[in-house]
Amino acid sequence: MSLHTLTVCQLRVKIHRGEVSAREATQSLLDRIATVDGKVKAYNWLNAADALAQADAAKKDGALAGIPIAIKDVINVDGQPCTCASKILKGYVSPYDATVIRKLREAGAILVGRTNMDEFAMGSSTENSSWGTTRNPWDLERIPGGSSGGSAAAVAADEAFAALGSDTGGSIRQPAALCGCVGLKPTYGRVSRYGLVAFASSLDQIGPFTKDVRDAALLLGVIAGHDPMDSTSVPRPVPDYVAALERGVKGLRIGLPKEYFIPGMDREVEAAVRAAIGKLESLGAEVVEISLPHTDYAVAVYYLVATAEASANLARFDGVRYGARVKGEDVIDTYGKTRGSGFGPEVKRRIILGTYALSAGYYDAYYLRAQKVRTLIRQDFEKAFAKCDVIVTPTTPEVAFKVGEKSDDPLKMYLSDIFTISVNLAGICGVSIPCGFARKLPIGLQIIGKVFDEETILRLACAYEQVTDWHKQRPKL
């Protein structure tokens, strides 16, 4: 069996037993990448020598000892570039490790390479990357989703045992759904954001892409935890997520929000999701109909709040201290040219939108109002969770679309995030798992949980996985 097709847990066992070395695992992965990444284009940066050196030096103990993990090109790794798929960060070399990277290292993991993404995590297709579009391993004419398209594609194509991504409005869950792998967005504050290049500070979270739920539970356990370097990380103990998987789902109440089964959804997507829900019921879960009445406003809220925060977070990219600079006649001209040419169009659009939403005379009408509606959205979930333990929805209204299909209508692109965005606005957790195919393209099932209740959503996901084999399917590359 080719090593690269293993899951993290399977590989762990082999390494632990001495059957396989860290180097062999890493080499197997590098060979796989060399074979298929020319087509998939999941990786932005790969240093084979560095990865093998890490493998040789790898710890013997640690939850991820000897396991190579791919990193979305938005997370700082000491000594590596961190381009965020943007020209404006050309030449930048991180002088520090993100906290999640420190944790991965402590667990013995090998940082195997940096994956492609939408520029500064702004996008739903990975078409907004300065380094070209990553392709969906299931159909190379189609997008893998975004913004963490590279990480999702890498895992789906067995080019990574697991990968880290970031999720602000669905950027882990949506590509996981479109690529047929598992993608988890933890509760806001569960995982440290220190070292994650910020897009929207009150929405961003780092999370894992994996081949199955057990791996996701393992990875979450490694990266989660309070961080004194991140004032928004919550001082709450990290439970044993893997142990919690076994508890079964009998009596678990599943809420189905009527607002998430909309006309205009892909029929096959809806059918697959309903079938999955049927499967969960057969396992002993109970279905409850709920309502999340403010769902329809989520995209509008997101595109005001997230862009406003982003407009400030991206102000630091000015060519003074790092990155690329385009010299102008004076300071203002230098800023204008550096940022005008360094940022891609989607980033510029969002910066302008966010700046406008905060500007004098418009703050109350746009930003403030959006933050108030956000409260209503959060309250929708709180009320719903009084009636159910988890909420189940499709992850996306449709399957992977073709490259170029939506790229000239930003608003159309934004609306494809409709099912994932509310979860970020409410700060709760969500996981996407494979639940079928439509015309040979993966479909994702989203399981949403209460704050800090990753254990329950993973438990339900695991139970479903154990009686299905969607997650074992692999694209032919």
Binding site: P95, S231, T232, E309, A312, V331, S359, Y363
Partner: protein, 464 residues
């Protein structure tokens, strides 16, 4: 028509903390450029701020010392603008819910209001060359307290007094060293003029680049005259920012209102609010030191000192502490004050005299053991060696002769040796007694108790 000025001041005070406001970099003046920096204070991609507890504490302490109301709930905001000395091109500051509100500074004859005090991070330092500028980020991120005054000042002198009093309080509280040369205290002014009696304020002009407290006074004096002259010419004032040039003595336009920044304030998502509990407030309140104003009053009341003495002694905390220790062991606090002010103040750091020793010296003078003149010699020896007065007096054999018998003998000797003076005195020349007294002192080699000697001499000259 007479015009009056309305002045408000914005002071930026660097807090005396070990580390910066939002990161662990050290705060040191004069370090090599860009050596006290880290990814956080450089605004690197992916970094996050974490609040310095001591900076918050010192700000609350300042608020308590200045009579402010401390906010029970306070939050952070981003102030957005682009400038090379801004690592993130937004400054983390406080907008609508600052740590302290209200408050006041007392100057002679008036109290001046404080509007608010908030906490923020300092910007980097720029150096300007011919075609380029260079930026040193050592200062970037230092904890900075902004104190905004009410527009209560009416003259440059009041502004000067306000800043002086503010400095005194902040230094006394250990909050900042307020050294303007090191940039630890910076000040901008808002000035407008209006006809006397008018209630409405005139258009206010911001003045920047005043680098000393006397510079503030000079700049305000100039600007007020300029505005009044313009008003008298019928010119309309527009809101603008002007730059003071201390060398040429004028202000010139920097920025007009059209180019004023739109700061686009919004709540800082990376930092959590500050909630000041009753317990925390009590703990900080107990650390509020005695303020200079109160201390001066107490020196007057407790030690019976004149206001002048109190002012001089309280001006330096170490001197004041020394005085109090010495005065505690003395029956004559005024005498202690005199010695401290005249003999110690100018060379305080070099003195080896402990407070108790000074008290002992003064007591020896009071007891008549030594004369005031002899005491000066003793003092000089004490200053240099740190020996006790008693030891020095013994060593030098300086004990004053106060024994009546011994003095009588000396007086009789002097009278016998100077019949002409005696005759002069008896003839009505009262001053002749001083010569005789001087002779007694000479005979005793300066050790005679002059007061007693004078009494005995007067008695013998009158009687037999």
């Amino acid at each position: 028509m007479d015009y009056e000025a309305v002045i408000g001041l914005e002071a930026h005070v660097q807090l005396k903390t070990q580390s910066k406001m939002f990161c662990g970099c050290a705060t040191e003046f004069g370090a090599e450029p860009n050596t006290l920096v880290c990814p956080v204070c450089l605004g690197y991609p992916g970094v996050l701020p974490v609040m310095n507890e001591e900076a918050v504490r010192k700000t609350i302490l300042s608020g308590l010392m200045l009579g402010c109301e401390i906010a029970r709930f306070s939050k952070w905001d981003r102030k957005n603008y682009f400038y090379p000395d801004m690592p993130k091109n937004y400054q983390i500051s406080q907008y609508d819910l600052p740590l302290c509100k209200g408050g006041m500074v007392a100057i002679s004859g008036k109290t001046l209001g404080i509007t608010r005090i908030h906490l923020e991070e300092d910007v980097a330092k720029s150096f300007h060359y011919e075609t380029t500028s260079g930026v040193d980020f050592n200062r970037a991120g230092t904890a900075l307290m902004e104190i905004v005054s009410e527009p209560d000042m009416r003259t440059p002198e009041e502004a000067f007094a306000y800043l002086t009093a503010l400095k005194e309080v902040l230094i006394g509280g250990g909050v900042s060293d307020c050294d303007m040369e090191k940039g630890q205290l910076r000040c901008d002014a808002n000035v407008s003029v209006r006809p006397v009696g008018q209630k409405a304020f005139g258009e206010k002009i911001e003045i920047k680049n005043m680098n000393s407290i006397s510079g503030v006074r000079r700049a305000l004096a100039y600007e007020i005259q300029r505005q009044i002259a313009a008003a008298k010419r019928g010119e309309k004032m527009v809101q603008e920012t002007r730059r003071w040039d201390d060398e040429t003595g004028v202000t010139s336009v920097m920025r007009t209102k059209e180019h004023a920044h739109d700061y686009r304030y919004f709540p800082e998502p990376d930092l959590m609010p500050v909630v000041v509990s009753e317990a925390w407030l009590s703990e900080i309140r107990s650390a509020v030191p005695e303020l200079p104003e109160a201390k001066r009053r107490r020196f007057v009341e407790q030690y019976g000192l004149p206001e002048y003495d109190a002012e001089v002694l309280v001006a330096d905390a170490a001197v004041a502490a020394y005085y109090e220790q010495a005065a505690a062991g003395s029956k004559n606090p005024k005498a202690i004050s005199n010695w401290v002010m005249t003999e110690l103040l100018s060379r305080f750091a070099d003195s080896k005299i402990a407070p108790a020793q000074l008290a002992e010296l003064v007591a020896a003078i009071e007891a008549g053991q030594i004369s005031g003149k002899m005491a000066k010699d003793v003092f000089a020896e004490m200053f240099a060696t740190g020996k006790n007065a008693a030891v020095i007096i013994k060593e030098k054999g300086l004990v004053q002769v106060s024994d009546a018998g011994a003095l009588e003998a000396l007086v009789e000797q002097a009278i016998a040796a100077n019949p002409k003076s005696v005759a002069d005195f008896r003839a009505g020349n009262a001053a002749a007694i001083n010569f005789l007294k001087g002779q007694v002192m000479k005979l005793s080699k300066g050790k005679a108790n002059p007061q007693l000697a004078g009494e005995i001499l007067a008695r013998k000259l009158q009687g037999a």
